[in-house]
């Protein structure tokens, strides 16, 4: 489904990704963990080409996003903006800071892209948007503007907005980090439900117990590399590498009461 092949990315002289490869099967939920600054956010942004990267390719169902290999020249070529925009329709993304459009109400936020990007008839898009907002538990908030919604509600609108494009895969970048603790649960529940419905997901999170519940596989990143990956219980309870062990120890020390 998703193939990330040898992606490298630098900011100036700082190598943030150093040849990351990752493949995600249809319906699989992959959780990415790792210390702060390890490049998790950058990886997700590269998958969607919100950042350009120097080396490597990303494909969804075999279709490239961003760069395609020119076989004759043996080189990577950047796709046109139009092609990239079209490719992004297959990838939904939810951000740490929600990024709802403040001048549109919840319903308009969810409907805007299906209507304007995909050209879906307004009535159908609206019916679908209401369905999605109901699914994330916001059927009574469709007409509210983002400033009038709590963080948890805003994030659930953002999830509905991404789902409205019928993406093949969803990317979540620490979607609960900006939320008050009591609002985290409602967002995680929406993601659980989505995972159970068979959505393919890549989830970056610092919530280890949630990671364990939802993940089919956990990927540990450090210093721009995938250091270790495996089944949740195996990676969390009997990690093979010292780096994971050290990370988990720090994590447990911090959150033990």
């Amino acid at each position: 489904m998703l193939e990330v092949a040898d992606v490298s990315k630098r900011f100036g002289t700082l190598e943030v990704l150093r040849g990351v490869s990752l493949s995600v099967a249809p319906g699989e939920v992959v959780v990415v963990i790792g210390p702060s600054g390890s490049g998790k956010t950058t990886l997700l942004r590269c998958i969607n080409l919100l950042e350009d990267y120097e080396r490597g390719t990303v494909t969804v169902d075999g279709d490239p996003i961003g760069y395609r290999l020119d076989r004759r020249a043996g080189q990577r070529v950047r796709m046109s903006e139009r092609e990239i925009a079209a490719a992004r329709e297959n990838v939904g993304m939810v951000f740490q800071s929600f990024n709802l459009f403040p001048h549109m109400n919840a319903l308009q936020n969810v409907m805007a892209a299906p209507v304007r990007v995909k050209g879906i008839p307004r009535a159908r898009a609206e019916a679908r948007a209401r369905e999605l907002l109901t699914m994330v538990g916001l059927s009574d908030k469709v007409a509210e503007y983002p400033v009038r919604l709590s963080g948890g509600q805003q994030q659930r609108v953002a999830i509905a907005r991404a789902l409205a494009m019928d993406p093949k895969i969803m990317l979540f970048d620490e979607v609960t980090s900006a939320l008050d603790p009591e609002l985290v649960g409602e967002v995680l529940a929406a993601m659980q439900q989505l995972a159970r419905a068979g959505m393919t997901m890549v989830v970056v999170t610092h919530e280890m117990s949630f990671a364990r519940d939802i993940a089919d596989r956990i990927v540990f990143m450090d210093d721009g590399l995938v250091v270790e990956q495996g089944k949740p219980d195996q990676l969390l309870f009997s990690p093979a590498t010292d780096r994971v062990r050290a990370f988990l120890k720090r994590y447990n020390d911090r959150y033990r009461i």
Binding site: M93, N99, F101, A112, A113, V147, M165
Partner: protein, 217 residues
């Protein structure tokens, strides 16, 4: 009260002058806004050549008094052989002059949107054009509207300069009445009051827009 008798005789003439002032300002604001938006777009999205062209234009306009440009348009237009009535000549100069300041206002509006808005729009598969149309511009224009309105008030005040190059509007009208009545204090005060009514209304409107921007919807 008797001192203000000259004003009573001249007020109709002054109001006609004010009408001309508004006409002139309105005629200049429309193209100034359009050019300002284009300049802002060129500066934010243009290639290096377009960007430096805009920067050069802003440098020149910000550094030369409007009065210099108006005066020399008045003298130069006939020399260049362009057959433009003086009214449209000054409207053109004012529009080009204020376009530079408007572009700064619109550029600030575009740039002050958080990166997340661009990210979200792009991740939904929007092309640049669509993204600008439904996500960026509606918000940027809203953010830019209060300073835009105070620029308009500024432009209204600046129209008084065209009286120096001999065009007839409120300031010229007041000078004509002063020549007949020899009551400069009263007449110019009257003209100032009219300008104040126009510009203060705009200022209040700008403040209202600003409070709306600050407090969200």
């Amino acid at each position: 009260m008797k001192e203000f008798a000259p004003l009573l005789h001249g007020y109709w003439y002054l109001l006609r002058g004010a009408g001309m002032t508004l006409l002139m300002a309105g005629a200049a604001i429309l193209p100034a806004t359009a050019c300002g938006i284009l300049l802002a777009m060129a500066q934010v999205f243009g290639n290096r050549f377009a960007r430096s062209a805009v920067v050069g234009y802003l440098f020149i306009v910000r550094g030369i008094p409007l009065l210099v440009l108006l005066t020399f348009t008045y003298y130069l237009l006939p020399l260049t052989g362009i057959d433009l009535p003086p009214f449209w000549g000054v409207v053109l100069v004012m529009a080009l002059y204020y376009a530079a300041f408007m572009s700064e206002v619109f550029r600030a509006g575009i740039l002050s949107l958080p990166q997340g808005q661009w990210d979200a729009a792009r991740s939904l598969g929007m092309t640049r054009r669509l993204m600008l149309q439904i996500v960026i511009f509606p918000q940027a224009l809203r953010l830019a509207s209060p300073p835009f309105v105070s620029l308009c008030a500024n432009l209204v005040k600046a129209t008084s300069l065209v009286s120096i190059v001999g065009l007839w509007e409120l300031t010229m009208a007041s000078r004509e009445i002063v020549e007949r009545t020899l009551a400069p204090f009263q007449i110019f005060l009257g003209a100032a009051a009219i300008y104040f009514c126009i510009c203060y209304t705009l200022a209040l409107y700008g403040r209202y827009l600003e409070s709306r921007v600050l407090h969200g919807h």
